[in-house]
């Protein structure tokens, strides 16, 4: 169950251009969080909280790691935090990634840009459960690449850049044919990427993590809806998601 807590900044690091990795501590959050859930962080001077995915969880240390790109004034404000400072956070929010460890053999993870972080915690957990992990990471240019080596710990990792400055030149969808066999895919990234991907991979079961501008982050305001094949006709990304079965939402 999500709570409102103060999380202490333990470490801050720029891991790629405008891309900040931050370790935050709070025992309840670390204890209960699951990969794919997000934190709703308050940046001083802002009306609305900022949703940022949990990239990985360290239950022993009581910490979680987040990674975020500096986009506007909110993330700029978050980025200037230094160890010892704290944030007002509501979390862990939303549902996380799920998998059936008894039947799953190989999972394909496809991350685009700042959609990569939530997949990291998933990769870690899948690997831990003995499931084979293959990963495709797409970035704009080589300056934005992060966590390549970290994903390589868990399995074969392909890097793709829009301009070819590192890894393969092109889009993540361009190398789907190369990755070989897998049972299920998990993806997070920009909507055009997810659209192309779910279309191309529609023969496979898949899960995608979605983003939308949020008001409340608790399911009350209906800001973050996505059309859905469900009876109600829509789902709320903040509480029904952010992870959805690919065939449950209409992109």
């Amino acid at each position: 169950m999500k709570k409102r807590v103060e999380m202490t900044v333990e470490a801050v690091q720029e891991v790629a251009l405008d891309t900040i990795e931050m370790i935050l501590s709070h025992s309840y959050i670390a204890e209960t969080a699951k990969p794919g859930q997000f934190l709703h962080l308050l940046a001083e001077g802002h009306t609305l909280r900022r949703p940022i995915s949990i990239a990985s969880i360290n239950k022993e240390q009581g910490t979680v790691t987040i990674l975020f790109k500096i986009i506007g004034s909110g993330t700029r404000r978050l980025a200037i935090a230094r160890p010892g400072m704290s944030f007002d956070v509501v979390g862990p929010t939303g549902n996380g990634f799920t998998f059936d460890e008894t039947s799953l053999h190989t999972a394909l993870l496809i991350g685009g840009g700042i959609g990569v972080p939530p997949l990291y915690g998933l990769a870690e957990e899948l690997h831990h459960k003995g499931i084979e992990v293959k990963t495709i990471l797409g970035f704009q240019t080589k300056d934005y690449v992060f966590y390549k080596e970290k994903f390589e710990q868990f399995g074969k990792t392909y890097v793709v850049t829009d301009d070819g400055s590192t890894g393969n030149h092109g889009l993540v969808t361009d190398i789907l044919d190369e990755v070989g066999q897998f049972d299920v895919y998990y993806s997070c990234g920009p909507v055009p990427m997810l659209k192309a991907l779910t279309h191309q991979l529609n023969a496979y079961p898949g899960f995608i993590s979605l983003e939308e501008r949020m008001g409340c982050g608790t399911g009350a305001c209906l800001a973050c809806v996505i059309p859905s094949t469900s009876e109600a006709g829509y789902k709320k990304i903040c509480t029904d998601g952010p992870v959805f079965a690919a065939n449950e939402v209409i992109l």
């Binding site: 409102r4 501008r213 008001g215 608790t218 305001c221 800001a223």
Partner: protein, 304 residues
Amino acid sequence: MTNLAVKLPGLKLQNPVMPASGCFGFGREYSEFYDLRKLGAIIMKAATGNARLGNATPRVAETASGMLNAIGLQNPGVRQIIASEVPFLAAYDIPIIANVAGSTIDEYVQVAETFNQTEAVNALELNISCPNVKEGGIQFGAEPDMAANVTEKVKAVSDLPVYVKLSPNTNDITAMATAVEQAGADGLSMINTLTGMQIHLSSRRPLLANETGGLSGPAIKPVAIRMIHEVKKYVSIPIIGMGGITTAEDVLEFLLAGASAVAVGTANFKNPFACPEIIDSLPNVLQNYGFASVDEAIGRGHAL
């Protein structure tokens, strides 16, 4: 002991603080954070005759000390609300105010009639000011005659007290307020959102899919205070005040301006505990400024 209780038509409030319509859903989500019994009352999300899907996304944008929203009255329809949402809220034993919306006078009347048949709802808030419905809602809120007309028609079918929610997008809020008072309104809700827009620089288009949205939050508080202070001089029905409230000091400012109770909207998003925290601070704040009760403070910002 500071007395927080307020009595309004149809509503016995243990304290004057309630969540604003559309900012609290039907209470379920915030009931995970705290016990809703704490609240003075609850105003539900707008209800229309049939279910609505609302606008395309993005539906919200952040602005300086405020936000824009264009949800577009998404709701499961009045019957579904009565069947699935009202019973949940009724268990908390606090007054329930139903926010009534529609595109036509008939729809308003139909929604009001339907709520009238349930025991659990204590009052109606007539949302004639939602800026996000294209078909008609906006006109009701901009023309005193239209507003009076829909108020009268709804009053005719409703045994419940009717609070009419006014739009700030007008050059004469007093004309609106006096028109609906004369039409039989039992109270006023002030203010709904100011119509605004944000343009997204990269896409060169309005950020909200609906283009315009309603501006809420601390940015609009001075407009709300001014309108309530002005209207209070001309009407004798009570006012539920809202617009940018985030602290108990803000509540006192609204009481002084002439509100008898208040609603908290946008602040819930920043702080899910906004309402209970404000309620907990209110006795001290009233005391610090020399008031022994909420009643004493109402309208005291006016020359005697």
